[in-house]
């Protein structure tokens, strides 16, 4: 049978899903054990006991100096920045995308501008943000907003253009003006696309967040990772990375579920 026609069964599928993760885990564990056998003070590949004691220290014992639980404090600070940044970017991207994608008079000045702006590497203007907005929360949020908004806006502009012109004409024959046409036809059709676009930019949003935290911050997941890097504390870095991955994955999962729940028509309309 040709490879293209071979489909695994249900259990086979689950096994194949687990397989690469299991291989990675096994490879890590064996190398870790080997290195620790040679040198019990090795810091590069800590064992799971070392990592769990680091997590125990950061997440479940109050910090000696501040009395805070650092792990949760970092998580809250990072999620707050990410949430505010993504929220502002989503609203701005939606407005810009709809304006550029539906109204030709707005498309002319906006589209080329958005294209150019999305080519500016956000990390390159991070110093400018620090100079303009200071080293506080604002500059970190702004980095996410500036990095993500043009991408969202361009994607939504494209999606708005893909709405069949027949539907826009139909709405006009039903008595819609420009505003109600956007409100009742364009916006509801773009909302599920917005959630999908958000899932796609989630990765870059985390990148911008961690970069900003690494350079100028006093808390946050990115700050902690770059702080303990000085002590080669892989037993902290690895759990933090895993935690960030888990957070990002659950956001992605949540957005996917939300798309399906809030817009039940969407899956069918695509077909």
């Amino acid at each position: 049978m040709r490879l293209i026609n071979r489909v695994p069964g249900r259990t086979g599928w689950s096994l194949l899903v687990i397989l690469p993760f299991a291989i990675l885990l096994f490879a890590y564990l064996t190398s870790s054990v080997q290195r620790l056998e040679l040198n019990t003070n090795d810091k590069l590949l800590p064992s799971f006991t070392q990592m769990s004691s680091a997590v125990e220290r950061l997440a479940f014992t109050p910090d000696k100096r501040s009395g805070e639980y650092l792990f949760w404090q970092d998580t809250a600070a990072s999620l707050k920045r990410l949430g505010i940044g993504l929220g502002i970017a989503a609203v701005a991207g939606l407005c810009l995308g709809i304006a550029a994608g539906t109204l030709p008079l707005f498309s002319a000045p906006l589209s080329p501008l958005l294209t150019v702006l999305s080519m500016v590497p956000p990390l390159a203007i991070l110093p400018i943000l620090f100079i303009v907005f200071g080293l506080g929360e604002l500059s970190k949020v702004m980095l996410i907003v500036i990095g993500v908004t043009p991408v969202l806006a361009r994607d939504l502009e494209q999606r708005a253009r893909e709405i069949p012109p027949e539907l826009l004409i139909k709405a006009q024959t039903l008595g819609a003006n420009t505003w109600t046409l956007i409100l009742r036809v364009v916006l509801p059709q773009l909302l599920p696309r917005l959630l999908i676009a958000l899932r796609l930019v989630l990765g870059s949003a985390w990148l911008f967040l961690i970069a900003a935290e690494a350079i100028a911050s006093t808390d946050g997941l990115g700050y902690r990772i770059f702080l303990v890097r000085r002590y080669l504390a892989m037993d902290v870095i690895l759990p933090y990375v895993a935690w960030i991955t888990l957070l990002a994955w659950s956001m992605d999962f949540g957005l996917r579920k939300l798309t399906r729940l809030a817009f039940p028509w969407y899956a069918g309309a695509k077909a």
């Binding site: 069949p164 008595g175 109600t180």
Partner: protein
């Protein structure tokens, strides 16, 4: 003999509803329509046929206001027709006629909500209930009474076109424009749709323009068939000359007369009533 003359007299009184005066449509060098002159009476069912790319759909877009003619003018009740789509002209396309994000019921209720609510685009409370009740009535009429809560993607092609027709009629337009509405349907469904369309046409005072590729459909449905074709052709420059209406044939005169008679009916009944009161 007397029957025929009576039929002809019934046909006469209709006043010109739509006048097309010397309309040209050109895109750059390409002439699509040239010197189009036409008078259409209220209540006519015009079917537009012709080869692909001969300007039937262009003419429909002109009537719809989606495009403006390069030269000439189209008059509706002696006034120039609005240059953008509005609620006086309903339309059904072959595809993408219904909103995928709204249920069947809301697709139709939308036509009642939009004109009344210029800011929100939706009605609330009692207004919404009323709009939905009205929408339900027309949906029952087109045979969608049992799928009010479904989304268009869950409907078959024929059902979707029924929905599109109901949606177009809810605003009570004076003109209904159909751009190959049944082109993608199987023959059985198409026949049902013909019956539905004729029933609705007979019940309302609609003027219908329907573009079709199906000659048989054109002849059975219309009270007037307009054939679009190019009368001149330059083989060196195929776009140099546009299409015109080459045949304009009245059809199904019995149906037209019957409908005209029905139109007369309420008026004469009303007079009778007044006469009685007077006596």
């Amino acid at each position: 003999m007397s029957r025929i003359t009576s039929l002809q007299t019934v046909e006469q009184p209709a006043k010109p509803f739509i006048q097309v005066n010397n309309v040209w449509q050109e895109y750059g060098d390409q002439v699509v329509l040239e010197r189009l002159n036409l008078t259409v009476n209220e209540g006519d069912f015009c079917t537009l046929i012709g080869a692909s790319g001969c300007g039937k759909s262009t003419f429909l877009r002109l009537l719809l206001g989606q495009e403006r003619p390069s030269r000439g003018e189209i008059l509706l009740d002696n006034a120039p027709i609005a240059g953008e789509p509005d609620a006086s002209r309903g339309v059904v396309f072959q595809r993408y006629s219904v909103f995928p994000h709204l249920t069947v019921l809301d697709n139709v209720a939308l036509g009642l909500e939009l004109p009344k609510s210029p800011w929100l685009g939706r009605l609330l409370g009692g207004g919404k209930r009323e709009a939905r009740e009205q929408a339900e009535v027309i949906l029952h009429k087109v045979g969608l009474g049992h799928s009010l809560g479904k989304y268009p993607a869950q409907l078959s092609g024929g059902m979707q076109q029924r929905l599109a027709i109901a949606q177009a009629l809810i605003t009570q337009p004076r003109i209904l424009l159909l751009d190959e509405p049944f082109g993608a349907l199987d023959p059985g469904t198409r026949k049902d749709m013909h019956e539905l369309l004729l029933t609705l046409w007979q019940e309302t005072r609609l003027t219908v323009f329907m573009v079709t590729h199906d000659l048989c459909e054109g002849f059975t449905l219309g009270t007037r068939i307009l054939v679009f074709d190019k009368t001149r052709l330059d083989p060196q420059a195929p776009g140099a000359y546009g299409a015109r209406v080459t045949y304009d044939i009245p059809l199904n005169t019995d149906r037209r007369a019957a409908r005209a008679a029905i139109d007369e009916l309420p008026a004469s009944l009303g007079q009778l009533h007044i006469a009685h009161q007077g006596a």
